[in-house]
């Protein structure tokens, strides 16, 4: 499969990235090469595999109690924000 600049541009939009033109061309070449390599997966036998080993071992995942608790570190957690108005994170308008 050949990845061209138009496909990379579509992926950039999906991933909230914006590449420089030369960066885009390089990524297109890298993705083309990688997808050529992974085409070998298509050669593997088609039979559906059995469930994953961890499922076989019957491991039961447990969750912590879903209870509301006060969070003491609010100020510390917000201290690293790029822009604050004291209590909320500030961002640019959705549509300027």
């Amino acid at each position: 499969m050949i990845v061209d600049d138009a496909l990379v541009l579509r992926l950039e939009r999906l991933a909230a990235l914006s590449l420089e033109p030369e960066e885009r061309t390089r990524v297109a070449a890298d993705l083309t090469r990688f997808l050529g390599y992974v085409a070998e997966l298509g050669e593997s036998e088609a039979a559906a595999p059995a469930p994953h080993a961890a499922e076989d071992a019957g491991i039961v995942q447990t969750l912590r109690p879903d209870t509301v608790a006060p969070f003491a570190g609010r100020a510390e957690a917000m201290a690293g924000a790029p822009e604050l108005d004291g209590t909320a994170f500030l961002v640019p308008r959705f549509n300027p």
Partner: protein, 460 residues
């Protein structure tokens, strides 16, 4: 007051001061914090913890409260976490002293530390060569004996490969053995926190400290603790699987010679080597880079410049996201996000992601089959010794070098690398892969190999 903890930390800081400028193991050294913690321990007296007063370095992908945590990225260059990762908190509770944060490939994506946004780390055995990655800084810190142990994380070999390249012990436990809470996520179904250490006994002690169910990570599992390592490592009667697929084209003949010598030494101790086959190994690189990139594309969507980290201003919210991410992420991270976005996108999901997930299960089944016949699987950790910095400029050639460590990660199995001699002046590692939750047996094999090939530091 000066006591044993202060003496240990002072010595670690002196080694860091003497060697780190040349080697670049650390992104931050917490000199004051470490000395203060050591003094407090010395005043308190014997704390009774298994790591009392032991200096430990921590990969900068693990959150440390009040100490900058960058994940090797410009995007998090100023990020100071408000909490400790569970593995870090457990280290502190056991009396360990965190001396600093070590270098890594950005967001743990790489095998050389050359993708760190700050600087590459250098291999102490030959500073023109890479120490491996992504936990390369942790490996250098231990290999240069700046600290006796360090935490790392392993997604596809990021503990074992640098351990092999730098002549130390590195263990990635079973997926679920150690909490991932506070580990900056790369690929959540693969990421696992583990240990790099100067010797097997230290790796064993640190691993037991950080292991165990954590309510903050639903994928951590309640399991009986790892059995303590016996003083005399007995491998008599142990069945070792030796997979043909790991001794194939691309394996450096000198690496093969050292690994086969290590296997013969285990046989001399009464172990039995059995030829086995893991036929899906050939698909591991393709499978891993699809699955891990897909998960990374989702995990890294959280870095948007809103709540923490760097921000690049934009006219609209979306423009701010795009600019922040485009300037904050390095080339390799962007490449993997775009690859992951591609394999999950409409029209390509079935052909790539779904096929890779099926293949992942086949890889796990290959191991399950083999573990009916043998107790452990032994292989080279890497096909070559440490490569030169700049040598793997093509991304695919870097990915292909991970071929021997990826399968155990994809299958969620415990695996370690232990030194087994040298090829020229460079260390070679033996990889030992175990059954799920059987870290005790792979550590036992590693202790026996260590007895046959004693580890040594890279620098005087």
């Amino acid at each position: 007051m000066s006591g044993p903890a202060t003496a240990n930390v002072t010595e670690a800081l002196a080694r860091i001061a003497a060697h780190d400028e040349a080697l670049g193991a650390f992104l931050a050294v917490d000199r004051e914090g470490a000395l203060a913690a050591a003094r407090a321990l010395d005043v308190e007296g014997d704390h009774g913890g298994p790591l009392t007063g032991v200096p430990v370095a921590v990969k900068d992908a693990l959150c440390t409260r009040g100490l900058r945590t960058t994940a090797g990225s410009k995007l998090l260059a100023g990020y100071v976490p408000p909490y400790d990762a569970t593995a870090v908190a457990r280290l502190r509770s056991a009396g360990a002293i965190i001396v600093g944060k070590t270098n890594l490939d950005e967001f743990s994506m790489g095998s050389s530390t050359e993708h760190s946004a700050f600087h590459p780390s250098r291999n102490p055995w030959d500073p023109t060569r890479a120490p491996g990655g992504s936990s390369g800084g942790s490996a250098v810190a231990v290999a240069a004996r700046m600290t006796p142990a360090a935490l790392g994380s392993d997604t596809g070999g990021s503990i074992r490969q640098p351990a092999s390249f730098t002549g130390i012990v590195g263990i990635k436990p079973t997926y679920g053995r150690v909490s991932r809470y506070g580990l900056v996520a790369f690929a959540s179904s693969l990421d696992q926190v583990g240990v790099l250490a100067a010797d097997v006994a230290t790796a064993d002690t640190v691993l037991r400290v950080i292991s165990g169910k954590d309510p903050m990570d639903a994928t951590s599992v309640e399991m009986p603790p790892i059995a303590p390592l016996a003083k005399e490592s007995d491998v008599y009667g142990l069945r070792i699987g030796v997979p043909a697929e790991y001794f194939a084209e691309g394996l450096d003949p000198q690496v093969e010679t050292r690994v086969r010598e290590a296997l013969r030494a285990l046989e001399a101790r009464g172990a039995v080597c059995v030829p086995v086959s893991l036929p899906s190994t050939r698909y591991a690189v393709a499978t891993y880079y699809i699955v891990a990139s897909a998960e990374a594309s989702s995990n890294l969507s959280r870095f948007d410049g809103v709540r923490y980290g760097a921000r690049v201003a934009g006219e609209s919210l979306h423009e701010m996201y795009e600019r922040t991410r485009s300037r904050g992420f390095g080339a390799e991270v962007k490449r993997r996000i775009l690859l992951g976005t591609f394999v999950l996108s409409a029209g390509y999901y079935d052909a790539y992601y779904k096929k890779a997930m099926d293949q992942r299960r086949r890889i796990a089944q290959d191991f399950a089959q083999v573990f009916r016949e043998v107790d452990v699987v032994c292989t080279p950790t890497t096909p070559t010794t440490a490569f030169r910095l700049g040598e793997k400029s093509d991304p695919l050639s870097m990915y292909l070098a991970d071929i021997y460590t990826l399968p155990a990660s994809l299958a969620g199995l415990p695996a370690l690398s232990v030194p087994c001699g040298f090829a020229g002046a460079l260390p070679v590692g033996l990889q030992v892969i175990g059954r799920p939750w059987d870290e005790a047996t792979i550590l036992r094999v590693a202790a026996a190999t260590e007895g046959d090939f004693p580890a040594r530091g890279a620098l005087p």
